[in-house]
Symmetry: C2
Subunit: 198 residues, 2 copies
DNA sequence: CTGACTTTTTCCCGTCACGGTAAATAACGG
DNA sequence: CCGTTATTTACCGTGACGGGAAAAAGTCAG
């Protein structure tokens, strides 16, 4: 929704090109807002048309020339204005929850492997945020201008930790489910083999 | 993204009309997936065109007739198929994070009030989920078919708790910020008045 | 040297999401 | 009589998002 505003927010840090924005969204906002390069470029032209940013062409040798975008006073004002409006709480909207909701109409095995992949994913993110936190804010405190970035990292950490723990719980629950089903419906594999042997 | 699949998932529970779906999304999926009635109806016609659901008109007296939609075997198959594909981890995409990211280019006061509203919002959600949990799963356990729903509530709880706590932290951090600024830049109001009096 | 990859921007195509405005229908509550 | 509830449908836009592609000029590996 607020992709344009996210870009404006990025540009408060320093002027950037579309390419740079697309690459990382500056290693911090990018974790919360993924957007591919075409989206970024499209948004940049919109913002330029609105006069919120201003592009300055930098001639390069060896590479195509680049357009470095800077916030205009109008852009700053727009950002401030937008930031003063109440935010809309975001929904979770995770596919996994829908799958789990329909658990009994769905194959459990792919779900379990999916959950395990997700667990790893969230652990990775957690570790990444942790590293970033230790690097950028080793004291756990931030200078006034960066307090918001610290807070962003903090909720990222909390979120990834919570989701990872939840994944573990979900995997366990699924295991309990299938082992229960096997006990009542199918003979579990090991016992089956043991019985076949004995 | 998977609005159609979310609807299919809902319909695994029981046949429903668009109106019912729009109302609540069944008091559980609706917390994660908000969608207004026009979206739902649009999606329903698409699903019907694909043959994933089937509408049966129920004649009513006193109210307009309603269309009760039921999953078709094709719809069930589509849901299973969709659920077997790996899920894409959702981004956070919360406006608040963008505002905080650009904290030093933004007015703090509206942000603070926004954060307080959000705190209340997440506490409310938390309480709501807790009530629902105690009502639907008083033992903290679920029959096999409902395990996924329990897990959904669980992550909802964890999420709201984490975000609410984070809001508190953020509010504190902002307070520290402004009181710090007042100490260095502006004389705080009370002291100002005391000095004026003395 | 060739072929692959990086850097940088742009364009065109679509689908999905989302939301406002609104209308039709028919009962019930006040 | 007016407003609300229940129920569906329509039309309109904007915004998000992503595939596919192409330019242009360099670097680096094989």
């Amino acid at each position: 929704m607020a992709l344009g505003d996210a870009i404006l927010a990025c540009l408060t840090e320093r002027p950037m090109t579309g390419y740079e924005l697309a690459k990382t969204f500056d290693n911090s906002i990018g974790f919360f807002w993924k957007a591919d390069h075409q989206q970024i470029y499209r948004e940049l032209t919109k913002l330029r048309d609105r006069g919120h940013i201003q592009g300055r062409e930098v001639v390069q040798s060896g590479k195509p020339n680049k357009l470095v975008y800077t916030l205009t006073p109008d852009g700053r004002a727009a950002l401030r204005h937008w930031a003063a409006r109440p935010s809309v709480p975001a929904s979770i909207k995770d596919d996994l929850l829908v799958r789990l909701y329909a658990l009994d109409s769905v194959d459990v095995e792919p779900l379990r492997t999916d959950l395990m992949a997700r667990l790893e994913h969230h652990r990775d993110r957690f570790a990444r945020y942790e590293r970033l936190l230790n690097k950028r804010f080793p004291q756990g405190t931030a200078p006034p201008a960066d307090v918001g970035k610290l807070l962003g990292l903090r909720i990222g950490l909390a979120h990834e930790r919570a989701v990872a723990e939840w994944c573990e719980e979900a995997i366990e629950a699924l295991s309990a489910l299938t082992s229960g089903a096997e006990r009542s419906n199918v003979v579990p594999l090991e016992e089956n083999q043991r019985e076949n042997k004995g």
